[in-house]
Symmetry: C2
Subunit: 357 residues, 2 copies
């Protein structure tokens, strides 16, 4: 049978500590060359709407040790609305019922069969969280107890879950521009984590004295600056523009998620792509040479050195996601779903064939 799982299923089954554990294993496989990851590709074309484009993205990965391969597909209608003075890239929930379209397909490396199909949303934020959690595990001070987080959205929650899984966190302060959002987020996450989260009105109030500073925004501009750096802090970012390049350069130790991972870009000729900084990271003048930075998998297997002293400033930049992460988290999800009978079974015959393709 091929399992159809929902985001609710994924939410119930995929706990952050387990997700971190399986990704850590999978990164070892990747660092040692046994795991296989195919960079994201983006196909971009017009759609019938003048103000939108169609984007078909895919990324693949296989973790032979876990017996699972995954393809993650995003089928998006993308617009560029104005937010303040900048154009923001925004997915439109255009599918029936005002929904987004992101899918993960899991396959067995043992017999090729399609194991499961499920939406990517919940797993997407869990794997981003887990990667930054592992960044903190290998770079933050062992005795870190306080977090300052900038951001209060969907990604920010998973970021906190992840660091609380790798460090004994006792206190968290949260800043985001909207008072309503940061208050609601702090209340909700306090309940979930059992650690008091205090919403604060200025980013400096969140950051000051924090052992770990997490950026988890959808900002197109820098939100963390060099002048805020304190000795011994660990900086964490889920997208490049968040941390000012000068601040990254000040860190004693910087690791990235993936090296040499430029997405494959194919687009309709002369397609007009609105200019944004979103997803691009820094401008070229910022000149940080990514090819020289160690990656998270290298850190995990000890090929790159982690924090050397309590006073060092460390930094983890989650610069690009991998289909490979969906294969690892997917293997865990599938095992747990089978154990408890979650999801809907469809006949595997619907997704296999008797003719040699």
């Amino acid at each position: 049978m091929t399992l159809i799982l929902s985001n609710d299923d994924v939410d119930k089954l995929l706990t952050m500590p387990e997700c971190i554990e399986v990704l850590e294993q999978a990164y070892v496989e990747l660092a040692d060359g046994r795991g296989v990851s195919r960079t994201r590709s983006d196909c971009l074309t017009p759609t019938s709407r003048d103000d939108a484009l169609y984007s078909l993205k895919s990324m693949d990965g296989v973790v032979p040790k876990l017996g699972v391969g995954a393809v993650r597909i995003s089928s998006d209608i993308v617009t560029w609305p104005k937010k303040g003075n900048t154009l923001v890239r925004e997915k439109v929930p255009a599918a029936p019922g005002k929904r987004y379209v992101g899918l993960v397909l899991l396959f067995s490396t043992e017999n090729g069969e399609p194991l499961a199909i499920f939406p990517d949303g919940v797993m997407q934020r869990m794997r981003v969280g887990a990667a930054n959690g592992l960044g903190a595990k290998y770079l933050a001070r062992k005795d870190a107890t306080t977090i300052g987080i900038l951001g209060s959205g969907w990604q920010a929650g998973a970021q906190l879950m992840a660091v609380c899984a790798v460090r004994k966190i006792a206190s968290i302060r949260c800043f985001s521009p909207s008072a309503d959002n940061r208050t609601a987020f702090s209340r909700q996450m306090t309940q979930m984590l059992g650690i008091e989260i205090v919403p604060v009105g200025q980013p400096e109030d969140a950051i000051k004295g924090a052992d770990i500073v997490m950026c988890a925004s959808n900002s197109l501009d820098h939100i963390f600056f060099e002048r805020w750096i304190e000795p011994g802090v660990h900086l964490s970012s889920i997208k490049l523009p968040e941390i000012e390049p000068k601040a990254v350069k000040r860190a004693n130790r910087v690791a990235i998620h993936v090296r040499d991972a430029k997405p494959i870009h194919v687009a309709t000729k002369d397609l007009v792509m609105p200019e944004t900084t979103d997803g691009r990271g820094w401008s070229s003048g910022d000149a940080i040479d990514f090819s020289k930075l160690p990656t998270l998998p290298e850190l995990i297997v000890g090929r790159a050195e982690g924090r050397r002293s309590a006073g060092e400033v460390t930094c983890f930049l989650n610069n690009l996601g991998l289909g490979y992460q969906f294969a690892a988290a997917g293997a865990l999800l599938y095992r747990k779903a089978k154990e408890c009978g979650a999801g809907q079974d469809l006949p595997t015959d619907w997704f296999t064939e008797d003719v040699h393709p």
Copy 2:
């Protein structure tokens, strides 16, 4: 609703003339830079069997004019059994029920929704056939009436269907090494096409005097040689080793399917890949510069010249498939399936989501 279609559905709905027509349209879009195609990627890893590897392939394409994007996925257990003196690459039907795993997912470029999911097998041969049919349409003599075909397998049938859709064919001769196979194939295709197909015992008997010579084998060696070339013939091949490079060089006009289309290859480090010529084409010494050859889409839009005279020798090499072909044929299939209510409807909600991924 998201449609689940079977190979039987595809077989009933996708006629060769329509498939050729929609691909011809789609190639115009591709030649003019409106259609978008992402080259195939292959992820290769070990599996638990010592004599086999796991292969996860994917290819994407979007035809905005038809409103459809497609991702085609192959999840294969691959072995290299010995066939005569050579190792042959062979997919093993290892999925439950001894089945293969190849899937096509179709998406709407209008709202992103998943339109349909179906196995790739039947469409795979139809699009290969249609491409070679279009090669013949643009390169073979207008008054061509006879075909000599080398091969009697799954692909050979679609090759004949395709050329019979673009030329008034009156007579076909078929050679393949096994007398049983060529006889059964000839009987079956005679019935399907309403044109008598004569099985013959030597390749020369199939080829002699034929206006169109089609290679449709799974041979790892050359099966058509320069010495067999007659003036005015059109040569057609579905994989590179079939036609001896010297014969290709003798042709006055040669077109290929795709230029610059090296698949993206990622594999487990030090993976032992048995040496075969399968899928590789010619050895490097054969030196035909593909970067200088026109493509089928260029031929269709008139950017490359077709046959100039009755005496010219022409040649079409179907050198690599495209996910783009599945988007085009998929758009046709989906429209026809909706018209006649074919397939099984699944709730689109199963494949979409309310969270921003």
